[in-house]
Structure formats: C-alpha cells, structure tokens
C-alpha cells in the first residue's frame, strides 16, 4: 500500500471531537504525524482579563475537568504571590489534601480512559468506579462533583466537614485493596504488557528538550517533581518520595508511564494520611485579601499531567492585565511526531493515551 494520510479526529474515538491527529502511514506503519488543535479554544486568557481576580477561579476550574483543583490551586498560588498574601497553615494542609485527592481522581480518570484505547472496556469501568469514591470525597467540602471552586485566593472556601478524615481513611483503605486486586488484571496481564511494553519510547534527554514533564518525564527515570523541586504548600514538611520508573536504559515506554501513575496514586495516599496526622487547627482563609494588584508573578505547580505554570501581570486594577497559562500537554502533544514515528497504527491510541492528554487545558 502506498503512503497515505489518515485523519484521526476530530470525529474519532481516540480524539473524541477535541483535536485532530493527521497520521501518514505506510501500510500500518506510521511515517509522520501532524497534530492540530483549536477545537476547544475558549480564549480563557482573554476572558480572564475581563474578570476580577477572584472570579477567575471558575475559569481555571474549567481548564481541565479531570483535574480542576490543581489548576485553580496554581492560579491561586500565583495570584497570592502577586498580592503577597499569607495563607494560613490549616488552609495549606487542606489544600494539600484536596490536591492529592484530585491527583488520585485525575490519574484514575486517565487510567479509565486508557483502557478502552487498548480495547479493555472493563478496565475503564473499574477505574471510573473508583474515581466516584474520590469525587464523593471532593464533593463533601466543596459542594460540587466536578468543578469544585473550592480553593480560593487566600485559602480555601470552607473548613473540612465533620467526619471527613474517617470517611477518607475508609475510602483510601478500600482503594488500596482494589489497586492490589487490579494488578493481576492490568499490569501483570501478559496481553496488557504486550500492548504497552517497548511502545512509544523516548529518552530522558529527548523528553526534557521536547518539553515533556510530569509523570511522562518521570517514566524515563528522571527524578523531577515540582512538589519537591519548586516546593509549595506543605510538601516540604511531609515525608514522601518521587516515583520514577525506567523501562530500559534511560527511556520510557507506555508501560513505565502507566506504572509511574499507579505508583504515584499509592504515594498520594501516603501524603493524604500524613497530612491528616499533622493538620493543625486554625483559620482556613487569610484575614485580609487585596482586591487590586500591581506587578508580575508566576508560580509553577505539579499538575496531574506535568508542569503547570501561571504567569499573572497586574496593572493596579482589580482585573489581571495579562494572564498566561502554561499547560504541560501543549508541549507534549506538539512533540508527538517524535515518539509516534515507526510504530503501528494500532499503537497510536496506546501511545497517545499513555501520555494522558487533556485538551481542555491545552486549548485554553
């Protein structure tokens, strides 16, 4: 068969209406790829310039529906840096708990979305069933299941409800059991390994230059996690490890990226438990929060998908003058011709699924 371009998306089960991947194939082998974005562009940055600082947390919630708290937190952190607001200690602990719960939910969402890409519908339902547990947890203090609007500039919206710790502990225990149970169904399954091992490889040096961060970079064995390397909230006071995994000599494949995320979920459970143990009493909101700000500030946080960075410029009014969002997936998708070349058509969902694409944050 001669070389031909196949347009995967926007109406394709892998891209489900959000983006297009044009693939040049020779028979079943990929020769070239060209990703296209813009189907979900909402001009969030421009909209943010018209809204007051505190209103923008609703926009950041909607950057990624799978991981909305981490994005709102990144925004709140940068605006607090800009306004020089001191967040109370208890609010920082609550934020950390919410971030890790959100990371668990986000990774579960990813794992559930990854399984149908490999042709494993049951996996999707198993992981999404567990995600519901964490959505229930996130719903209890914030009052919403998907778009929480819980982390605000200067703290969190309200204190944790009564019995939240016991409820969390119960769910974490259940989830740990299930994670062990799933090992036989997924990572120890021979066919799952046949599909994911030695597929979608890139080395650590390549990944850094391509702008790939987060679990995808840690899948190459690079110990880089912004919770540790640009620490925020109370991650420096808590004992936890960066989860890395290496498939071969310095490269990552789909399986190592899968395993990094599974290990990270276990690590998140550890962090949440320790946070509950150390949590002090006190207020959950800073006493005085300015409305207007001047200057520029940025903070970067470890989003569920990689490095999230928000750069906020204020001109003295109550609205941001310029607000820039760095999405980790934006660069990772742009690099996809590099790690798709040479694999089969059947590998495209396996590879693109394994890097955990979220188009909401990418298209902004």
């Amino acid at each position: 068969m001669a070389e031909m371009w196949i347009s995967m998306g926007p109406q394709h089960p892998m891209t489900h209406g959000l983006w297009t991947l044009k693939v040049k194939v020779d028979g079943e082998t990929i020769v070239d790829a060209d990703p296209e974005l813009g189907y979900l562009h909402r001009s969030v940055e421009k909209m943010g310039e018209r809204r007051k600082y505190f209103m923008n947390t609703t926009l950041t919630d909607r950057l990624c529906y799978a991981s909305s708290t981490t994005w709102t937190h990144c925004y709140a952190l940068s605006v607090e840096e800009l306004m020089e607001v001191e967040v109370p200690q208890r609010a920082q602990y609550i934020r950390t708990i919410m971030l890790e719960l959100q990371r668990l939910a986000s990774h579960l969402m990813w794992a559930g979305a990854y399984m149908p890409d490999l042709g494993h519908i049951t996996g999707a339902l198993y992981f999404w069933r567990d995600r519901e547990l964490f959505l229930n947890l996130l719903e209890a203090p914030s009052g919403s299941r998907l778009l929480y609007n819980y982390i605000r500039i200067g703290g969190v919206k309200r204190d944790l409800p009564d019995g939240f710790e016991q409820k969390t502990e119960r769910i974490l225990k259940l989830f740990e059991q299930r994670l062990d149970e799933y090992a036989d169904l997924f990572e120890n399954s021979k066919i799952f390994r046949m599909r994911t091992e030695d597929v979608g490889k890139f080395t650590a040096a390549q990944a850094q230059n391509l702008g790939i961060t987060g679990p995808n970079l840690r899948g190459c064995g690079t110990k880089f996690d912004l919770r540790e390397h640009d620490t925020y909230e109370i991650y420096d006071e808590i004992d936890w490890d960066i989860q890395t995994r290496e498939a071969g000599p310095g490269y990552s494949d789909c399986f190592s990226r899968y395993m990094v995320r599974i290990d990270e979920m276990r690590e998140s459970i550890k962090i949440i438990r320790e946070c509950f143990k150390k949590m002090p009493a006190g207020p959950t909101m800073a006493s005085k929060i300015p409305v207007r700000a001047t200057g520029e500030a940025f903070r970067r946080t470890e989003d569920s998908r990689g490095e999230a960075l928000m750069y906020v410029v204020g001109d003295g009014s109550d609205r941001p003058y310029r607000w820039k969002i760095k999405s980790p997936m934006f660069t990772t998708i742009s690099a996809c011709p590099h790690y798709l070349k040479g694999y089969k058509v059947a590998d495209i969902p396996a590879i693109m699924g394994s890097i955990d694409i979220c188009i909401g944050e990418t298209d902004k």
Binding site: Q208, N209, F224, L309, V313, R322, K326, S334, H338
Partner: protein
C-alpha cells in the same frame, strides 16, 4: 553552578541588564533583542537549562514584552542547601512596529508551539521558525486577539 555564580556570569554577558532574584530559585534579567540567540545558545549549552517552560507575550502598550521561562531540570544550576530547581526568567522588549525576534525552537523543541501560540494570539514574528502557523485559532483568522487594541464585540443576551 551555584545560583549566585550563575547570576554573576549572566550579568557579564553582553546585552543582559537588571539581573535579579525573584525568589530564592528564580533569576530574572532583561535581554536586548539583538544577539539574543547567542545568549540562549549559551543558556542551553553552558548553563544547562534543558527545559523551556513557557514563552509569554505581553502587550505593554506601546511595546511588546516577551517573557521566557527556562528550567534547569538536571540541576546544573542549583541553590545551596535546597532541592529547588532553578528557573531563569528572561524579558525581551520589542517595538510595536517590528515585533520580530529570533526563534529558539531549534534549541528547545518545546518552544516550538509556544512561539506559534505567541504568533497566533499576539502577532510576534519568530525569525527562523520552521512552521510559523496559527495553532489555536483557525487559519485565516483576522487579527491577534490578545493585543490590547484588538476590537471585539461583547455579546450579552437580553433576558
């Protein structure tokens, strides 16, 4: 290289002004538009900033400002007694009439789409970019919407 030594070395480079610390691990400096590429080559090869985090374009009215964020992932530049990864924040100011700057996407591939986005939304032209097309907006879109002088209609539904 310790961050203080890094700051000293950076300030000795031609075209770099106002070197300062934003936080304990973030170095900020201004850079002249001419010869910026030489500095970026030095930043990548000599100082080991492997990762281009972000390129932001700001419309400061009248001039444009480009803000580059680079990150040293492998710890070639470090802060003493801290695990913090060092970032470099570099500001380049451009005239409104000639919003052009040399592309760095051949040094960092990760900068490729950031430059495309800056071109798309702010109208900055990157010389030497391999594929300077719009990335978020459709082809044939008129204007660059993040510029402050971009005229747009606010549609508010009456009810």
């Amino acid at each position: 290289m310790e961050i203080k030594a890094f700051m000293k070395e950076v300030s000795s480079v031609k075209g770099v002004t106002k070197v300062g610390l934003v936080r304990n691990n973030v170095v900020k400096c201004n850079l002249d538009k001419e010869g910026s590429k030489d500095f970026f080559v030095k930043l990548k090869d000599d100082f080991g900033f492997e990762h281009c985090s972000l390129i932001t374009a700001i419309d400061n009215q009248p001039q444009f400002e480009l803000v580059y964020h680079f990150s040293a992932i492998n710890g070639s530049v470090f802060v003493k007694d801290s695990s913090a990864a060092v970032m470099a924040e570099i500001h380049i100011f451009l005239d409104r009439d000639t919003p052009t700057v040399e592309s760095i996407s051949d040094l960092w591939f990760g900068a490729n789409w950031h430059e495309r986005e800056a071109f798309d939304l702010m109208g900055i032209y990157f010389i030497g970019h391999p594929d300077l097309r719009r990335v978020l907006l459709p082809e044939g879109f008129a204007g660059h919407p993040l510029r402050k002088d971009y005229v747009y209609e606010i549609h508010e539904e009456e009810w």
